[in-house]
Point group: D2
Chain length 397, copies 4
């Protein structure tokens, strides 16, 4: 028997629950249902779920809990000690990105450092998400689904102006509307002292968005920049040679052997000892990274298999890079992902569902993939990122 | 034996010639080659082509002529009388969109109404392109490749600022550079009294480009609008209800049953007796079509199988629609195709290669397809058409 | 006060209703709600909806009715005589593609020829959809929302194997699973004597799908082919010259002047007097159209602005083409749309929601657009259409 | 004064040279030109290039050399000792992926370990590419363009059946033709004892290509697998649970909480101590990685910022991962990149131009980007990778 309470219909949870049960060849019986009579009232449902085999029932229950149901029988979360470093007991509870509570000593306790794809470790009556690789032998790991409940973000209509997303992601939308809402959110976040993170790919530079991005940094709208080696390299290339991957940014002309500029920019930054040193020595005098260094904006550059160089600041140990990304994101309230599926997915995996995420890309498939995080706190915009940044900088000027 | 003269290397004609010969399993022998010693001098080549069979030789010669070679032996074009209406003799010469000359009575005569995929009819010592369906029994049709030569547009670097296109079509480009060049071309064209045509899909309205397009019309930059029924319907829907396909243009919110606005807009225009009548009666008070009617901008709306309505002005007889499109394009010097593959291909088929064509679409595959017309007078831009129009209207304000 | 009954939660109708009310700034009060206790039982809801202004209330009611609600007060549909040919009274009820009933003389009467974007005309106690352009002065047209109810298709899980679509449309799916289900549906349809229609674009030929499509025709799986001029032209070009748009189908090599084959194929068919005549005269000896002619498969080719030729069978009067498409689709139970957004949207507009529609395209945006018809009877597959047809023909062999 | 010899017209080098000169505002004068009179004869050109400033001349010369010209004056390559570890002298010669020679002691010496974006280090009369980060203080680095010449791969028509690529990359192509050619190349490579590498993304598993990929491994067509963590994780998930990212591979149904399978698969492999250990212990009994382990196929998994886990075999230190990729690719003659832009670009950067590269992706933009390496040894195919692998395995069975 499972129960759920909340905006079950608005948030389509009821539908998902029924669907889940039927998909597994299981059956349900609605024991009780109280509907919210108005937009503000929550609904409540109590279901009896039956399946042919215990294993199937377990699967169904796991899915229902991940949707926001809880097993009706009140019981503490089941804890099992990890038997070795770096992995969990076999039936560990694998987290979602939604706000989660575990029952310990009869009381519901909120889980810290919420993120998806983690285990929950209980220590001294407090619970926290822990990546599998960070588990140590002896850690008390929550197993099974008893004593676990999650509270999915309810899409309160228009609270954050995210209703834009209720329509499907498409290139056939008026981007100006989305820009206006994002600008309003950014202004409100800055006023409230909240932190805004940007996750940016090199296309930001190729499409001429660099100068508008610099305006946003100067105006204090960028508290954190998460990117890869390529963004910094292309940015440095433009600062040093006026080109990006060999295309002249002012005339749009390709330069046949333009890759040489690319490699020379890397060499110049490496000779200086890194981006910060290059700014200090006057080698790097403009660009996105220059502004970050001069304004003290926190940045983390994560390495990848395709990197040239890399620049000294690029973190090539990906375990460290993931940890530094995650640490930097700790208290962020709004994240904009600009034209980078790789880093965008990486960041999405680290964020709790209640952090707002805006994804901008010219490829609808990328936006769909990034925006598909089981949360209403996501806005996807299919557009040219260079022109998007120009509009955004203009709206915030 | 074939000959060619011109910027053979710059325009990659030499390469294409050699390629053509080898692809057919034929062989070539360079009899003479004089290279242009500087950027301004033309080159000249004379080739002997041999093939195993006469049919293969004919195929090779046809391709070489379409590239810009001429058969060396001086001979008049071979004329055959069409034996029935609506079709050509079997070996008719099928035109390209490049400037073409036929030899008549020993003299090279320019072909009028140049367009691709047509036959050439000679009458009274003058030659003109004629669509197959417009041929009449008895017309003297050019057959074979003797006495035919074409002069491909040579891409004089930067004359029209089209060098932008020498790089591959990609969404990773700075659109502002392209916008600046197009604005310059439009200003120059208006100043020179040349006509500018726009070919526009309904996405122009969905993406919020409508109001910027109206600015261009008001400023006199639109001499001709070629579109389909859908553009006019979505434009009328926005004018009458503020929505486009049921999405509120100011808030971006979808309206569940929003299709009703769509149908009511059609009904309202039909009740008025058409777009012009709706403007006259004060039913239609704003929008792209309103501006066209008020400013006397020529427009042709071509029907399609997916049309709702259609509006009274929409030409549902496609033979008539093609003829009206072609007639309206007769003296145009610059064409912008905005987010419509269907009408863009239709227009591309009608234009000689020397009319400049700018294609804007958010889907790179569409831009590649539209821009692939064997001419250097084409510029492709992969971007959001709503933001593009905003930039363009701003640049021209 | 509105009521609805059915699988309100499974089909997400409840959610859509609440959403609709709130979006319009109106308010709702649930008067009664009875939940289906198991998967098979329907649910029932009764809502009181209040809005600030009568106009807003009308908008909300119209949307709720289009979702499947009915106004609780029992009342006959309101009929208004059309005041002129070709258009409807201003507040005409605009149809959806869902099964619709109107109350006439106190009884609910099913609407014939269900299609979207039409008016409903009542005559002699019977009701039918009528396109606006087909309305005649004096026709009794249903206006407003009283006495109208629609019954949306309920997605009975897996009845048609369409659960595949419950996941988002993506290129990252195993196509073989979809092919297997479609093959099973086609076999079942043929066995049941139902008609299967194909809507096909020229990409079917370019991608080498032609020979597999012919296998399907020969095996009796194609009862109707709806296409444009281009499919038939490319098919004829391949039959006559072995190329498609100048690309050799066996070697994949492009032929520089390959457009000539294209125009010669058109000329050859025109000289014969059309496709049927070309088959009869032995001019056309293979290909998709050849098989259709020989097997007596019904086909309609609709013209478009981009057509070359056209072939004699192509219907260039689009009003006639739409009427012939619609007539041919009258008793079809399964439609496959292969790589043609234009004709696919046209056909989608004509079909009632309960006709199953399968859309196959390599561009996810096209599949999303075609599959978005407010019906669960739609399956979208993102894949290469040539390989898809090969798999399908293999699965049905 | 620069000279070049080779198939200058066929390979479009002449055009690129002229273009380069003019683009930089420089001028050229053709001193001598001897055209190859037949397909087999090389051409020779000698140009005098003049520019307004010495810096501009240097830029032009650098580009011309990267195209295949050499400075006419015979002179040894200019060597400068690196002044510190990890970076090059400022005017170092940055390599292309084409076969390169440097003049040492008056003789042209071939450069070893050819790759792009490297410096050339001369030691004991022999020359080799060295990544900037691998340079050590004191290394003799080639600087400037004197004494350097490259020999671009000439596209001998059809030698490798790569003519397929002379047509633009498009989804409107017959994939079967490409599959046939690739199968023939793979057979020939295996027969010749050459090594074939696959670079594969997780989409191979999602699209059902896994079982066909296993067939290729079993048949001995895969000598090296380069991938990321995700391929191995999804493969293990399918082997252990029959799902891939929570989608049932046999029925195509999504499983709501399917991410749990994903995390459990990771946990299971980690508990076993890695992929090899999991195979040895009987935990992993099927799949791509299982086959690789059982058949002794070399594999390298490179980490990324978006990785879950990672699996023990995944190399999270990207400097090490790049070095291991590059080492494994040392003697490979054919590389197939399947649905992974990230690893595909990484691998492309490491390969000399004469290694054949086949790129398969459903997104044309990805294929264009991967195939754009300035070499004729590249074939791009836009198709569904699952069906592609099915065809390929069938063609090789």
């Amino acid at each position: 028997m499972v129960e759920a309470e909340g905006h079950l219909i608005d948030s389509q949870l009821m539908n998902a629950m029924f669907d889940t049960v039927v998909r597994h060849g299981a059956a349900f019986d609605v024991l009780e249902f109280r509907i919210g009579r108005t937009n503000d009232e929550p609904s409540f449902v109590s279901l009896r779920v039956t399946a042919k085999a215990p294993a199937a029932l377990t699967e169904v229950l796991e899915e229902l809990v991940s949707l926001g149901c809880r097993v009706a029988r009140s019981e503490d979360a089941h804890l099992v000690a990890a038997d070795r470093d770096g992995c969990a007991p076999e039936d560990f509870y694998s987290t979602t990105n939604h706000r989660t509570f575990v029952q310990i000593g009869g009381a519901w306790v909120g889980v810290h450092q919420q993120r998806m794809d983690a285990a929950i470790v209980v220590h001294d009556g407090s619970a926290a998400c822990r990546k599998l690789r960070d588990l140590r032998a002896g850690d008390a790991v929550v197993c099974g689904v008893h004593g676990v409940k999650i509270v999915p973000e309810f899409q309160e209509r228009d609270r954050h102006g995210f209703a834009f997303m209720t329509t499907e992601i498409s290139s056939e939308r008026r981007v100006e509307v989305g820009v206006g809402r994002i600008a309003a959110m950014m202004r409100a976040a800055r006023q409230a002292g909240e932190r805004i993170a940007f996750v940016a790919g090199p296309v930001v530079v190729h499409t001429g968005g660099g100068s508008y991005f610099r305006d946003l940094i100067r105006a204090g709208y960028v508290n954190l920049l998460l990117a890869g080696n390529a963004l910094a390299v292309h940015d440095a290339e433009q600062a040093l040679y006026g080109t990006s991957l060999g295309v002249d940014m002012e005339t749009g002309r390709a330069i046949e052997g333009g890759h040489r500029h690319h490699m020379r920019a890397i060499n110049a930054i490496c000779r200086a000892g890194g981006l910060r040193a290059a700014v200090d020595q006057g080698v790097l005098k403009s660009g996105v990274m220059y502004e970050c260094v001069r304004r003290g904006v926190d940045f983390v550059l994560a390495g990848s298999i395709r990197d040239d160089g890399p620049l000294p600041e690029t973190v090539m140990d990906l375990v460290e890079a993931q940890d530094r990304y995650a640490a930097a994101l700790q208290d962020v309230s709004l994240v904009l992902v600009l034209s980078t599926m790789l880093h965008g997915i990486g960041v999405g995996n680290m964020l709790p569902a209640w952090v707002r995420l805006v994804c901008v890309d010219i490829n609808p498939a990328v936006v769909t993939k990034l925006a598909d995080r089981g949360s209403s706190q996501t806005m996807g915009i299919v557009t040219d990122v260079g022109l998007f940044l120009r509009q955004l900088a203009g709206a915030l000027a």
